[in-house]
Symmetry: C2
Subunit: 122 residues, 2 copies
């Protein structure tokens, strides 16, 4: 009845994304999965990453005009180095309280901090 099918491609994409702590682009996921599955198509990777993120199985962020994907959907923010592009996860010890307006139904919060990493700070 569930017209969604399990495929080797989907499994491989998810497995790779969950195996890394980075935030790869579709292109990077493609290159990595291609090693095990040489004729997977880039379109397949794009389609499934988009589908996964729509279903909240993975996270998605947009940095410098590129979409990036995150295998970790636990609540966390990101640090982005504006110079070298480094992306790092930010886990917060204390809960952050936000007094957002009641008129919206919230689905997710995305907290991104921009700056310089140690290496790029001068």
């Amino acid at each position: 009845m569930s017209d969604i099918r399990q495929t080797k491609q989907k499994a491989a994409i998810l497995e790779y994304l969950r195996s890394v702590k980075t935030h790869p682009t579709a292109e990077i996921v493609y290159s990595a999965v291609k090693k095990e599955m040489p004729n997977i198509s880039l379109g397949t990777v794009y389609r499934n990453l988009e589908e996964f993120s729509k279903n909240e199985i993975i996270g998605k962020l947009e940095v410098a005009g590129r979409k990036r994907f995150d295998g970790d959907i636990s609540v966390h923010g990101h640090f982005i180095c504006e110079k070298c592009g480094l992306i790092d996860d930010l886990f917060f010890k204390k809960k952050i309280k936000i007094d957002f307006p009641k008129k919206y139904s919230i689905n997710g919060i995305d907290l991104t901090i921009k700056g310089r990493c140690k290496k790029c700070e001068k």
Copy 2:
């Protein structure tokens, strides 16, 4: 000595962006400014918006694969409706405290909340 020049194009772009509370794309800014300045070029709009945001004269956000610009650089977050694309400013009454790692030098914080607006909530 300052090799940056004041131009009518720059002034018009800034003036438009500061006159609206929306978060227009470069394309939208272009269309608007074009009304007063019919042969301004799209490239000029892109170049200057990018330059302004680099110099922190305006804000920039990335939503659904598009860059959007914000004439308001006061500290605030954004709500984005995942269905209709509405972008709304979020001003917080209480200061938000974040315990981010010391290893980074912070330049800016971007807080985006995703969900459904009243109209799109079913």
